[in-house]
């Protein structure tokens, strides 16, 4: 264990001179600033005035126009919703609104009289989450993911480029020790990064008991995947661009996060999916899918460790010897 910790310390020192480490540290600051300053707390609702022509009903605040062309002109230039009465009924003219907004307009228009519709909120807390903070788990998840995925691979590639891998190959270090020392270091760094983003955006009032192991093991999974993948490369350029592609795939759960209606089954097999949604629960509360999260992450941890062991052993620390 002492040896592994010493390796972690020396790897951390190497990391301090690696440009990617500082790029990721800078990314952390940018993410915090984006959440705190750039993203709005509340998205602006779709607000449209109504213009009418030739309809019998009285609509509060609606502006009555003197021709169909005037209605169309108002819709075209002033983002209004137009209602034009005719022999076949009423035609709605709009500048390309969402179906949701249109339905609301039509409901209001068809309502015989204003009445209060009873509302029951099942998740009062999530209802109150400001938009910018709701994006925070995305940044937390992907900063931790990037840390393990990119930095682990970068250190490994440097070992190949400067030839130190040959010194490792004739040393008694085994694949397990190599993987554990690297994944331990990046898991700690990833957890610290995730915690920093969380503290500076959402604050301290979260479920740290869930958050910390989630960040730790989430980063570990991506460190192991990154190390396994990096063994296929001998130079930085090809590695970096293909890593970006893989990162793109791993960021697809963002779609489900921002558009909950879109959560196909295949999306749930992407390793970042359970981690992202578990971060959301850890940060904002709500009913966690504990069993699904634990099973998914445990499976990915085992798969990534086995893949990393096989590939690092065969393609990186290979030699005419047994483990």
């Amino acid at each position: 264990m002492k040896g592994i910790l010493l390796l972690c310390v020396q790897d951390f020192k190497r990391l301090l001179t690696n440009a990617l480490f500082w790029v990721l540290a800078g990314t952390l600051v940018v993410m915090v600033l984006v959440v705190d300053l750039a993203l709005p707390k509340k998205l602006a609702p779709e607000e449209f005035g109504i213009v009418t022509y030739n309809i019998s009903q009285t609509i509060p605040d609606a502006e009555v126009m003197d021709s169909e062309e005037a209605v169309r002109e108002a819709v075209r230039n002033n983002d209004k919703i137009g209602l034009i009465g005719g022999t076949d009924g009423i035609t709605v003219v709009h500048p390309g609104l969402s179906e949701k907004t249109l339905n609301a307009v039509m409901l209001m228009f068809s309502g015989a009289s204003p009445q209060t519709i009873p509302v029951e909120v099942l998740n009062a807390q999530s209802e109150a989450i400001p938009f910018n903070l709701h994006m925070s788990p995305l940044f937390i998840c992907f900063e931790a993911l990037l840390t393990g995925f990119i930095l682990g691979g970068a250190l490994m590639l440097a070992e190949r480029e400067d030839g130190t891998v040959n010194a490792l190959r004739i040393s008694p270090t085994g694949t397990a020790r190599y993987l554990i020392s690297k994944s331990l270091l990046f898991s700690v760094i990833g957890t610290i990064y995730a915690a920093l983003i969380c503290v500076f955006t959402v604050g301290f009032d979260i479920s740290w008991g869930i958050f910390v192991p989630l960040a730790f093991f989430g980063t570990m999974i991506f460190t192991l995947i990154g190390l396994a993948y990096t063994t296929l490369f001998h130079e930085m350029n090809g590695w970096f661009f293909s890593m970006v592609l893989l990162l793109g795939i791993n960021m697809m759960p963002v779609i489900s996060y921002t558009t909950p209606a879109f959560s196909p089954l295949w999306m749930k097999f992407i390793p970042s999916y359970p981690i992202l949604f578990a971060f959301e629960k850890a940060v904002f509360g709500g009913a966690p899918e504990t069993l699904y999260t634990i099973l998914s992450m445990a499976s990915w941890l085992i798969i990534s460790y086995l893949a990393a062991t096989l590939m690092v052993s065969k393609l990186f620390l290979k030699g005419g010897r047994k483990a």
Partner: protein, 282 residues
Amino acid sequence: MIQVSHVYHDYEGKGKCAVSDISFQVESGKIFGFLGPSGAGKSTIQNIMTGLLPLQKGEISYEDQSVRNLKTRFFNQVGVSFEQPNLYSSLTGLENLRYYAALFSVPTQNPMELLELVGLRDDANKRVINYSKGMKQRLTFARALINKPKYLFLDEPTGGLDPKTAVNIRDLILEQRKRGAAIFLTTHSMELADALCDTVAFLYGGVIAANDSPDALKLRFGKREIRVLYREGDTEKEKFFPMDDKAGMAEFLKTADVIKLHSQEATLEEIFLRVTGKELTA
């Protein structure tokens, strides 16, 4: 002891071997010099011996343990100083040794003491990227000693070093021999091999052209005659006597104004030229 028996290696698998039928042994407490020009196959043999290349044909064993079956923990007993320094350039010299020491599961030497031995104590906290080539070479050598290896592989350990530092490194190699390490030394330097090695092998074209102790090789390939340099009037002259013509030489020495006597011993360089027909160049 390291036993190498009938080793062949074919990089491309097309029947053209980089090394063929290589056999020798390196005993504990002895230095075995592997001499040959670039491309002769020295690194190939060292890489097979250390497990960096797979053993295709033949056998290499460490105390009867085949290189094919070496376990990771075996490498606690191995030290390798590479010709091309391969160090963590972003770490300091001291950090490099600490990092490497952490890989071993046996007691290791104090990194600072090792740096002192190779003359790098004052530069211990300087990042390796700022080291000269010679400093990197010394650090690589120090790294090879960190685990007090039982089997030590040295590839051009004095290459690029100034004469004073080279002598220091030579002394350290001799200390390792005294400690009982089996040392495999790869070099172009006949002078270094002559000064250090108990046995040398000349590798040329992938085969061993000669393999014996330096003294035995000199005896076998030397001229076995004495050169007498003497003065006759104002001029210096020389005369050669066969080693076994003691009477003739004694008679001559009685009257001659002798300046110098030399045994006509061949150097390793000359022997290499005689054995292979080629000069040993880097």
